[in-house]
């Protein structure tokens, strides 16, 4: 789900850098405002590395297999930190795999980052986070259910919006004198709809991951950018 170099007009690529830069600058400003900014640096860094590695896992959907996008999960766990994390992830991907993506790094960061931040907001409002750590058994079950729903939403929103933006950018920037707008919209819609299974799988995966983390390391779900002393 990466826009390759050379495909989109330079102006769009530059616009992508501008938006990604602004969002990252805003994230860093928020991070700097928190009391424990410095402490978060290694956390975000190592989590970014973990997301990078885990996103390489194969999920078999015969006849092929897919990689999870994890933008929703990153949003849920990292909050506003997701933006710099995604930027770093994409940069290291370009460096380590050498498949290019330097002029489109900005736009790709927007395609993953904006949905991640929206997923973060959705996750926050649906998980009812304040009660996350209450102890009684009955309440726990309910909370787990809510968490799973919130996780599903985060994952699905992450993939869904990323897919829409991805095809949107590609099709709406096809060089001039082209197919009529209606065809464009239709193509975008069809291509996006064909990704519905991915959205369901990523949603389910994120729900399972969130529920795993709530059992094993609940503090991870508190959201890093909120962790102000």
């Amino acid at each position: 789900m990466h826009i390759p170099d050379g495909l989109i007009p330079a102006t769009v690529a530059i616009g992508g850098y501008a938006v990604a830069g602004a969002l990252t600058a805003y994230s860093i400003k928020r991070i700097n405002q928190s009391d424990n900014a410095q402490e978060q640096i290694p956390k975000v860094a190592l989590l970014t590395a973990a997301f990078f590695i885990t996103s390489l896992i194969h999920i078999p959907i015969p006849p092929t297999s897919i990689h999870p996008l994890l933008s929703g999960l990153m949003g849920a766990l990292l909050g506003w930190f997701a933006m710099p994390a995604i930027l770093i992830g994409l940069l290291l991907q370009a460096m380590i795999f050498g498949h290019g993506g330097i002029t489109t790094l900005g736009i790709n960061a927007v395609i993953l980052g904006v949905p991640a931040i929206l997923a973060h907001l959705a996750f926050q409002s649906f998980s009812g986070k304040q009660k996350l750590f209450s102890q009684d058994e009955d309440g726990k079950k309910q909370i787990t259910r809510r968490l799973q729903i919130a996780g599903f939403l985060a994952g699905a929103i992450g993939v869904g919006l990323s897919v829409l933006m991805f095809y949107g950018f590609i099709i709406f920037t096809i060089p001039a004198d082209i197919i009529d707008p209606a065809a464009e919209r239709r193509a975008t819609l069809i291509l996006s709809l064909s990704h519905l299974p991915l959205l369901l799988v990523e949603g389910a995966l994120t729900a399972m991951l969130v529920s795993y983390l709530s059992r094993v390391k609940p503090e991870l779900l508190r959201g890093l950018s909120e962790a102000r002393a």
């Binding site: 795993y212 059992r215 094993v216 390391k217």
Partner: protein
């Protein structure tokens, strides 16, 4: 029928050869220690035996069946060096049940396997805990239980005593000594090897240097030091010439007998 029969096993990474025409035969019920310096090829050998790595050459027979890389061989279980690499489920019970479930057993069989493994390893009361919060010694036993629950006939332990305190190490040694399966074990903790294994194989740079009686091999100071190892203190000879024993080969353990078993 042999428990394990390795013939001419050879393995190379693109950059370097690791195992070089290794031949090992282990009879059922034996407890064999595999010793050698870092990078000797111990873990590579284990992974080949379990079918994780595909050897460049050679043949491996496990209780009469040929080991094929990439296939699942429930007859052999590998306990990894770091329990964290092996334990991943959110509860201890789930983790131990993971193998049996994959073997296609019924629910009640799974439960029977898990309970047996938990009671053997003495971790019954941990069933509902998150493995993540256990101590190093408990994690080690959970990892072993996860393997035991598949009821393998050969268990391979890769550095089982790493990072354990004395108490957990002692429990582990007793546990392995009392277990029924054939055991193949690698360790830099040579005192543990002395206690568990009657047979030792010394591997260095992918070649078998020695294979035989534990006391004989580990008591051979020159041999050990030539391969970056040290003779265990428990095998330090009785002082020569000063007492009656003179040149006799008597490991300290046999003379003194005042340490714990």
């Amino acid at each position: 029928m042999n428990a394990l029969e390795i013939t001419n096993l050879t393995f190379s990474y693109p950059e370097q050869p690791v195992l070089d025409h290794v031949n090992i035969t282990i009879r059922p019920g034996e407890r064999v220690g595999l010793i050698g310096p870092n990078g000797a090829g111990k873990t590579t050998l284990f992974h080949s035996v379990c079918g994780v790595l595909k050897p460049s050459d050679g043949d491996i027979q496990l209780f009469g069946d040929s080991v094929k890389a990439g296939k699942f061989h429930p007859k052999v279980g590998l306990v990894f060096q770091y329990p964290d690499d092996q334990i991943f489920s959110p509860t201890v019970y789930d983790d131990i049940a993971f193998g049996p479930r994959n073997m296609g057993l019924t629910d009640s069989e799974v439960e029977a396997h898990v309970h047996e493994a938990m009671s053997l390893t003495g971790i019954g009361e941990l069933a509902e805990r998150a493995p993540h919060h256990l101590s190093g010694g408990q994690k080690r036993m959970v990892a072993i239980a996860g393997i035991k629950a598949m009821r393998p006939e050969l268990i391979i332990y890769d550095e089982p005593s790493a990072n354990l305190d004395m108490r957990s190490r002692r429990r582990l040694i007793n546990f392995i000594q009392e277990s029924d399966e054939t055991v193949l074990l690698s360790s830099h903790d040579l005192e543990m090897v002395v206690e568990i294994c009657d047979r030792v194989i010394l591997l260095d740079e992918g070649k078998i240097i020695a294979d035989g009686d534990t006391y004989e091999i580990m008591g051979d100071k020159e041999l050990m030091e030539a391969h970056g190892l040290e003779k265990p203190h428990s095998l330090v000879y009785h002082i020569k010439g000063k007492h009656s024993h003179d040149d006799e080969f008597v490991p300290a353990e046999h003379i003194h007998g005042d340490h714990v078993h």
